[in-house]
Amino acid sequence: MARRRSAAELLDAADSAGTAIQAKDREAEARSELEQSRSSALPLGKILDRASDTRGLSSQHVSELAESISVLGLLEPLVVDRRGRLLAGGHRKAAVFVLKEANPNAYAKHFLDDLVPVRVVDFDAEANPDLALQVEVTENEKRRDYTSGEVRALAERLRDAGYAEVKGRPAKGEKALRPALETIIGKSIRTVRRYLNETIEESVTDVRLSEKEDDKAVMTSLRRLQTELNRWQKAYSEPATPELESITKDVARLLKRVDTALKKEKG
């Protein structure tokens, strides 16, 4: 039989486990704050700097980001607190400033009226610096994953803007596609290559076993859609605004098509 631990050892174990869970408590809090954030836009000048900067900026990363933003716009909004203080996106914000200086035309095109897309997390970073730091860490860890289809669409837009697939180090004046994509999606160059070469047009998290499974998945999705559309019709049988009214019409049309498709699949 294993040796029985003393009361002191048990207390040690419980105490350190409790402390470890406390760290998780804070992480969970930050994640739920991020999930509850709302999308918005703020004038560039109204976005305040972080009270204390947690890490320095890499000027190379900033200029690479600025270049991608000039072509694609800002894909990942900056994250700010309720007073507009920056929580996450230091590099992105610096890159927007660089772009404004270096390429006012591209800047004006992507940021109409100086407005920058942000996500507002509803708390005050000054009153709660721990949570602010945790939100920054969490946002950087869980920035969204791009599907291979999305990556290829981005690649297409970059190619149109003169980026090219080059082997090895790009010649002077030449713009290399893959490193640019690497900067944008925050994934290694190998992942980028895999995304570009993949033939299946679907999310990487979408696991399927066979064609048959595929059919089943379609049926399930159709049924879900049907339920949701029915629910909409019930909820908004008398639409209050012209917008809702036109949506309700579309919903009726779509519902008919879904019904037909389901009948055919069952066929």
Binding site: L11, D15, A17, I21, Q22, A127, D130
Partner: protein, 243 residues
């Protein structure tokens, strides 16, 4: 008028939060104070333990902004029942200071906030509304883990100079010294958490029976060992929990 506000929290369930909250409230009421128990637990046990309707409108309705009348259990002892409404989205997303603002203007000499197990956002409402907290654990590592998490929150709030409990005490409950851990852990806990007050509450049939019979402790067994131990805790509350 000074109002004493005390939260009772553990994070873990079944360690004696509600029993202690109701016991302490009963002591304070018997001493002639007008006392309110605010039950933050969706299981709504506090009102039941004190012998009033646990399904009546209570804490949830107060938090939703409705006029709510606490139920009178015995002279001077009032309860706002908990209940499943506490788990609704609106209440879960309240600001931590919302309950504090509501209770501090209510006409009671003492307010006992019975926090739920598990639910951090409801627990936080209680911790922030109080001036001091009783952190409850029994002599088992599972409960000590929970107590540690509560104390972590209390510390982070105090360090940020936020409203809420400035002091807390650890209450080791359900102690039965015939068990090895119950005998050894109290001294270890005092040593480990040396900067806070410690209380011990022994396993006592009178205490659990009071809840089961739905009679406040000081009416059920005023001369029991638990009554004596809870009176000591009540004394600490009066000395510590005030603005």
């Amino acid at each position: 008028m000074t109002q004493h506000r005390i939260a009772v929290a553990a994070r873990k369930g079944g360690v004696g939060k509600t029993t202690i909250a109701c016991g302490v409230a009963s002591v304070l009421a018997k001493q002639g104070r007008k006392v309110l128990v605010v039950d933050l637990d969706p299981q709504s046990n506090a009102a039941y333990a004190l012998g009033v309707d646990p399904t009546a409108p209570g804490t949830a309705e107060l938090l939703m902004g409705n006029q709510t009348n606490p139920l009178e259990a015995t002279p001077g002892l009032y309860v706002l029942p908990g209940g499943p409404n506490l788990t609704n989205q609106t209440i879960q997303s309240l600001h931590p200071e919302d309950l504090a603002d509501l209770v501090k203007v209510m006409p009671y000499d003492a307010v006992v906030l019975d926090c739920p197990p598990g639910n951090e956002s409801l627990e936080r409402l209680g911790l922030v509304a109080a001036q001091a907290t009783l952190v409850v654990t029994n002599a088992h590592p599972f409960a000590i883990m929970g107590a540690n998490r509560v104390m972590g929150i209390l510390e982070s709030y105090r360090n940020r100079e936020r409203r809420g409990s400035q002091q807390w005490a650890l209450v080791l409950s359900q102690v039965d010294e015939r068990r090895a851990l119950d005998k050894e852990l109290p001294a270890q806990l005092v040593q480990r958490y040396s900067d806070i007050q410690h209380f011990t509450l022994h396993q006592d049939t009178n205490l659990s029976q009071a809840g089961a019979q739905q009679i406040p402790l000081m009416d059920y067994a005023p001369r029991s060992r638990s009554a004596e131990e809870l009176t000591a805790i009540a004394q600490w509350i009066i000395e510590t929990a005030h603005d």
